[in-house]
């Protein structure tokens, strides 16, 4: 029994039942398939993180974002600037207690280099209802190339706990034709 010492003292020389062996082989093979599936997707799939990231200070990141905001703001909404940067450009989204700043307006089927960084604590970039979720750290500038494939209005929810105002931290991204 499992609560007593093995009845066969040389238990490691006991043969393994065929059915157990088959299951081990099936499970092992399945593990390999799942392992190589991740590698395969880096080549064949369209949803991958580049893992391009830089160390940056919050001040420097805020400056870069401000430059973009100054240049490409098209209107204001609820006190937020709505920024329409050119396709293919570097786009900055600031995460801070408790805002996603500014509101971005992107064009459908165009690529943007989206930079994410936090001014203070960790935050979670959660694009809804698409449901893309990326962690945002202070001190790190993470670059994700995004290509919105549907026009509409998207919410950016914070999904990393960031203190008492966490549930009020909502941003917005517009995708236009």
């Amino acid at each position: 029994m499992a609560i007593t010492s093995p009845s066969e003292r040389i238990w490691w020389k006991q043969p393994i039942a065929k059915i157990e062996l088959i299951w081990i082989i099936v499970a092992f093979t399945w593990g390999l398939i799942m392992f190589f599936m991740m590698i395969y997707w880096h080549g064949a799939g369209e949803q991958n993180l580049s893992n391009e990231a830089y160390k940056i200070t919050p001040v420097r990141f805020a400056e870069k974002a401000q430059t973009m905001i100054d240049e490409y703001t098209v209107r204001q909404e609820n006190g937020f600037p709505v920024v329409h940067p050119p396709p293919g450009s570097d786009v900055y989204l600031i995460a801070r207690l408790w805002q996603w700043w500014p509101i971005l307006e992107l064009e459908k089927d165009q690529s943007y280099r989206l930079h994410l960084s936090s001014m203070d604590w960790q935050h979670g970039f959660s694009l809804q209802p698409v449901n893309i979720n990326i962690q945002v750290h202070p001190g790190y500038d993470m670059v994700v190339t995004v290509k919105p494939d549907q026009a509409g209005e998207y919410g950016v929810v914070c999904n990393e706990f960031c203190g008492i105002g966490h549930h009020n931290m909502v941003g917005k991204i517009y995708v236009v034709e």
Partner: protein
């Protein structure tokens, strides 16, 4: 040891029980259950707050309760109970005296003091930083101090366990190799050393940082090492509850492992590979390469998952073999149909096995896939997954073995038997509901650790789909059901331990029924040429098909979101 240890002989199992070890098992188990009650209550408050129609607590209390819930049940309840499991699997199963009982008591006191200090820090309201306490968010110094003391206490307990193995070997209290359950406990203990070391490496600097002696801790570094503790501590649970499955199968059915070699190899896989799981929390983080993510998140090509899948066959397989040897051979499933479903130890154990595999296991592997994590990270899918592993898996298994510990270690008749018969079902199904509904809400995008899913006070409006609200309502109801099951458990256990009839020194408890020891025919069952377990083969086939389908369905979901590169 100046004083020689005192023993009693267990009338049911014939095991020689060191009375000091017995006292330690009792103390650890009782404190564990107290913290289960406290942490469970906080959990209920959290679930009631996330039930949109109820929205019970105000925001500050919600975040406080969630921090306390995580710490009290994920760490305190489980580690205290694991200490009891370690002392049981070493001293009791090996019939040995416990090495250094004074150290064991010192460890116990440290753990208790640490748990109380951290709870007080959380309740003071300035440490609502969640169980994970990600920097640069700062808690009071005593929050970290309590966890460190708790961890040091646990580490002492782990070394008492190792010492007891050495003592048993030297004093030749057993012949041949250690039992499989002890081997499983050894696996848990080895992973615990790694876990606690990771915790010390990151929490000691964090304590100094909160005291002002260190000015900066890199948030990414913190997260990487913190999860070396946070995730690995869940692997202690896996190893411990798998050991508990084997123990219950042995005690209730006299089941013998199909193959000692295979089961021990599966445990070895845990020791070698489970520690890589810190990566599960870093899949959408900046600063890690995809190569690092893929290798670590898959436990080096899913070798630890292989271990769990093997246990998933060998545990029910050993029960089937034992039942068939008893003559329950009709069809594929007579052995399972006629299993003692009214015995809470078995019912809890079997549900733990099924839920851990189907709900917690599959969702964990899918969520831990590098790219699929993008559509799940930090949504409610994450707590959905780990309520499937830690609650429906570990907690349910620990509850199940408690029904055997009360008569065998506490030497008390179990009270409220009708209630006990139902308890695993009420709790188990409630928890399965919690896990599934949270996963459902997470798939719809709902954030975890979030007080108001309507965003009523946000500067910009956003609405989750109405189906998400339905999921959270159902989750609230399932949580109430699980809480009822939790209260039943506490009433039964506390009632029995303090007020149950004391069993005489040579008296065998009448309930739960523990069958006579494995017969001769049984002790050779499982040798390769005779093994016949068609029911188990069917069960694992269903599991495998569910696994493959669910895995690829999620790749399909992923392929539909915005292209990213």
């Amino acid at each position: 040891m100046a004083k020689t240890a005192e023993f009693r002989i267990c009338p049911t199992t014939g095991l020689k029980v060191d009375l000091t070890a017995e006292k330690l098992i009792k103390a650890n188990a009782v404190v564990a259950v107290v913290f289960l009650a406290i942490g469970g209550l906080f959990g209920l408050l959290v679930a009631l707050t996330r039930w949109p129609a109820v929205h019970f607590l105000p925001a500050d209390w919600f975040y406080l309760a969630l921090t306390a819930h995580g710490f009290d049940v994920l760490l305190v309840w489980i580690i205290f109970f694991e200490m009891a499991v370690l002392y049981f699997a070493s001293a009791v199963l090996l019939g040995s005296r416990l090495a250094g009982p004074k150290f064991a008591w010192a460890g116990f006191v440290l753990m208790l003091v640490g748990a109380v200090i951290t709870n007080v820090a959380v309740l003071r309201g300035q440490s609502s930083v969640m169980f994970t306490s990600y920097v640069p968010m700062m808690a009071e110094p005593s929050f970290y101090l309590g966890i460190i003391l708790f961890a040091v206490g646990a580490l002492i307990g782990v070394f008492v366990f190792f010492g007891t193995l050495v003592v048993a070997k030297q004093e030749k209290t057993y012949e041949g190799s250690i039992p499989l359950v002890t081997f499983g406990a050894l696996t848990a203990a080895i992973i615990a050393v790694f876990t606690i070391a990771s915790g010390a490496i990151i929490l000691i600097p964090t304590l100094l940082w909160s005291l002002g002696f260190i000015s900066y801790i890199d948030p990414l570094l913190y997260k990487t090492i913190w999860w070396g503790m946070g995730h690995s501590s869940q692997q202690i649970n896996v190893a411990a509850h798998v050991a508990v499955w084997y123990a219950i199968a042995a005690m209730v059915f006299g089941a013998k492992p199909l193959s000692e070699k295979v089961s021990r190899m599966a445990f070895l896989m845990y020791i070698l590979f489970l520690q890589l799981a810190s990566a599960h929390h870093l899949l959408v983080e900046p600063g890690m390469s995809s190569e690092w993510k893929i290798f670590n998140t898959s436990y080096a090509m899913y070798l630890a998952v292989l271990g769990s899948m093997v246990h998933g066959m060998t545990v029910p397989g050993s029960i089937e073999a034992a039942q068939r040897a008893r003559g329950l051979t009709k069809g594929m499933f007579e052995w399972l149909r006629k299993a003692p479903w009214s015995n809470p130890a078995f019912a809890g154990m079997f549900m733990s096995l099924v839920f851990f595999g189907f709900i917690g296991g599959i969702s964990g592997v899918v969520m831990g896939t590098e790219q699929i994590n993008l559509i799940m990270h930090n949504t409610l899918y994450v707590p959905g997954h780990f309520h499937g592993t830690v609650v429906a898996g570990t907690t349910l298994a620990f509850m199940a073995i408690t029904y055997l510990l009360v008569p065998l270690i506490f030497r008390r008749e179990l009270m409220f038997r009708k209630l006990a018969q139902w308890q695993p079902y009420v709790f188990g199904i409630g928890v399965a509901g919690i896990a599934m509904f949270m996963m459902g809400a997470g798939t719809l995008g709902v954030a975890r650790r979030q007080w108001d899913m309507t965003f009523a006070d946000a500067q910009l409006p956003f609405d989750y789909p109405s189906a998400a609200f339905l999921m959270m309502g159902l989750n609230g109801m399932a949580a109430v059901m699980a809480a009822v099951g939790g209260v039943m458990f506490i009433v039964i256990v506390v009632g029995s331990v303090f007020f149950g009839r004391k069993l005489g020194i040579d008296e065998k408890p009448s309930y739960p029924e523990v069958p006579p020891q494995a017969s001769e025919s049984l002790s050779h069952y499982g040798s390769a040429e005779k093994l016949h377990i068609p029911g188990t083969v069917m069960l694992v086939s269903i599991f495998f098909i569910a696994f493959v389908l669910y895995y690829f369905v999620n790749w399909k979901y992923l392929s539909e979101v915005w292209p990213l590169s």
